[in-house]
């Protein structure tokens, strides 16, 4: 089955992916931080029971059966949060995953359930619709905690209301190079949004990948939050394109893109950091149509598959840093351009 990240989507020159995550909890049960192991088991069983084999062929995984390596590779594929991955090998946490990995449901993260839907490119409307369907489906079986005034009740007050975090992963090399990201971050924060590094909360941005998401969840509807995000994302995309156009004609820029490509095609050792910085340049070159046979789908997929834990999972062993960088270089050589 093709995974969601193996193809690029709408506005794919700038937008890597769109994601919606709903935080949901069950009435009269303590939040995960205060739950007993019996209560955790009970929730997992109830959620698993909602997904019998014939229903969509979701895989139901208990995190105690997942190795730390696999768990980290799931973080790299954006299926679970870093916090959730820390619980690999622990009981009381579980993951439900659709075959194309576009729908993932974390059980026992910060809230009882985190329902997440992702898609390549800019695509809020269809993924909200899908997230909404899974929400209704699970609500009818589990009965989510809800209050007339505060909306969906969540462990942390920052998620009260819709419990919805919508985000879009943007590739912003031109804005980054022109030092505009900080200014952008200040502006969007005044509009109830936030922009941060690729793996969310507290992560640095590598490869000029940034995640733009809504901060406020109480007092506005899901549609309002999404419209707000769409319109800001639209403006950022436009700016990024304008700066890219300015760079396109610079000989030094063209030189840099092709040097980056040369290194990726020939290097024998590639650290994660070097890979991200080079692939970012190449991706921009492909988006500008500078590289024959360049393909954004392939690059998006490579960005995920060349991350450390994904390499270790394919190698089926733990590797030291040098061996990992060698595996990465070999993998990138084979997959950068066909």
């Amino acid at each position: 089955m093709t995974k969601w990240y193996e193809k690029s989507g709408t506005d794919g020159d700038v937008v890597i992916s769109t994601r919606i995550r709903l935080a949901r909890n069950v009435n009269h049960v303590p939040f995960p931080a205060a739950m007993t192991s019996e209560q955790k088991e009970d929730i997992i069983n109830k959620v698993f029971a909602a997904f019998p084999d014939e229903n969509g062929a979701f895989s139901c995984v208990r995190m105690e059966t997942v190795s730390p390596r696999e768990a980290l590779s799931m973080v790299e594929r954006h299926l679970i949060s870093p916090d959730f991955a820390n619980g690999a090998g622990e009981t009381g946490k579980a993951l439900l995953l659709s075959p194309d990995e576009s729908v993932s449901i974390m059980v026992g993260e910060e809230d009882h359930l985190r329902i997440q839907v992702m898609r390549a490119g800019l695509d809020f409307d269809s993924i909200y619709e899908e997230a909404n369907c899974w929400d209704d489906f699970l609500d009818s079986r589990l009965h989510f905690a809800f209050d007339d005034r505060l909306g969906y009740l969540t462990q942390c007050p920052t998620n009260l209301g819709t419990g919805m975090r919508a985000s879009v992963m943007l590739h912003l090399p031109a804005l980054q190079e022109h030092g505009i990201i900080q200014q952008l971050a200040n502006t969007v924060s005044k509009l109830g949004l936030t922009i941060r590094g690729m793996y969310g909360e507290g992560s640095r941005s590598e490869g000029a990948l940034y995640q733009l998401s809504n901060q406020v969840t109480l007092g506005l509807t899901e549609q309002e939050a999404i419209e707000n995000l769409k319109s800001i994302a639209g403006q950022i995309i436009k700016e990024e394109r304008q700066y890219r156009e300015k760079m396109r004609s610079l000989p030094a820029f063209e030189d840099r893109v092709f040097r980056a490509l040369g290194v990726l095609q020939n290097a024998r050792l590639l650290s994660g950091k070097e890979f991200m910085s080079l692939v970012s340049q190449v991706r921009m070159g492909i988006a500008l149509g500078m590289i024959p046979n360049g393909n954004l789908d392939r690059i998006n997929r490579l960005i995920i598959e060349a991350q450390a834990a994904n390499i270790l999972c394919r190698a089926e062993q733990d590797l030291d840093a040098a061996a990992r960088d060698s595996h990465r270089a070999a993998f990138v050589r084979d997959n950068i351009i066909c």
């Binding site: 909890n25 069950v26 009435n27 009269h28 049960v29 303590p30 939040f31 931080a33 205060a34 909404n132 929400d135 209704d136 609500d139 009818s140 009965h143 989510f144 905690a145 809800f146 209050d147 007339d148 005034r149 505060l150 909306g151 969906y152 009740l153 969540t154 462990q155 942390c156 007050p157 920052t158 009260l160 209301g161 819709t162 919805m164 924060s189 936030t194 901060q215 406020v216 969840t217 109480l218 007092g219 506005l220 509807t221 899901e222 939050a225």
Partner: protein, 164 residues
């Protein structure tokens, strides 16, 4: 209480403990925003929430009531920056509201309504939409549609949606 920076009315109170020395910071909304406390953005909420409620006057009443579902007191919730269970929000609604307002700028949910949630809210929303539509039809002089909408509104009201 006045702002430590500019002397205006302080609305945010932050406690900081460095090397066992506790200092308190009082900030007006503008200065709080400038120091990253005015909104939920980029802020260690646990610390923030806790410090908000750890004033001595509030401490004394905090521990007498406990959430009937999870047993947590208001003080415990404030210190952890996290509710113990959904019922905590209903039990301590009034006391949690100021910081909820501080985080979101609003206190009334307007988004999706859970299926098993109180039906009256759904009706209230539906009625509101119908009334707005009716007003629009009156202005547009679409009288046939007006009659239709009035019937719908009446039906909903008879079902008891207006009692809430």
């Amino acid at each position: 209480m006045y702002c430590d920076y500019c002397g205006k009315q302080a609305t945010t109170h932050v406690k900081k403990t460095i090397n066992g020395q506790t200092t308190e910071l009082h900030l007006c909304p503008q200065c709080a925003a400038e120091h990253g406390f005015g909104s939920a953005f980029g802020l260690d909420l646990g610390d923030f929430w806790g410090s908000l409620f750890s004033e001595p006057t509030k401490k004394s009443i905090a521990d007498t009531v406990r959430c009937e579902d999870c047993g947590r007191s208001f003080r415990e919730i404030a210190e952890l920056g996290k509710a113990g269970c959904p019922t905590c929000y209903r039990t301590f609604y009034d006391r949690l509201l100021p910081s909820i307002h501080r985080i979101h700028g609003k206190t009334q949910h307007t988004g999706k309504v859970a299926d098993k949630a109180d039906d009256s809210l759904k009706k209230k929303r539906e009625l509101q939409t119908l009334r707005e539509e009716l007003e629009r039809c009156i202005t547009a002089q679409e009288y046939e549609k007006c009659a239709e909408l009035r019937d719908k509104i009446q039906q909903l009201e008879e079902k008891g949606g207006e009692t809430a």
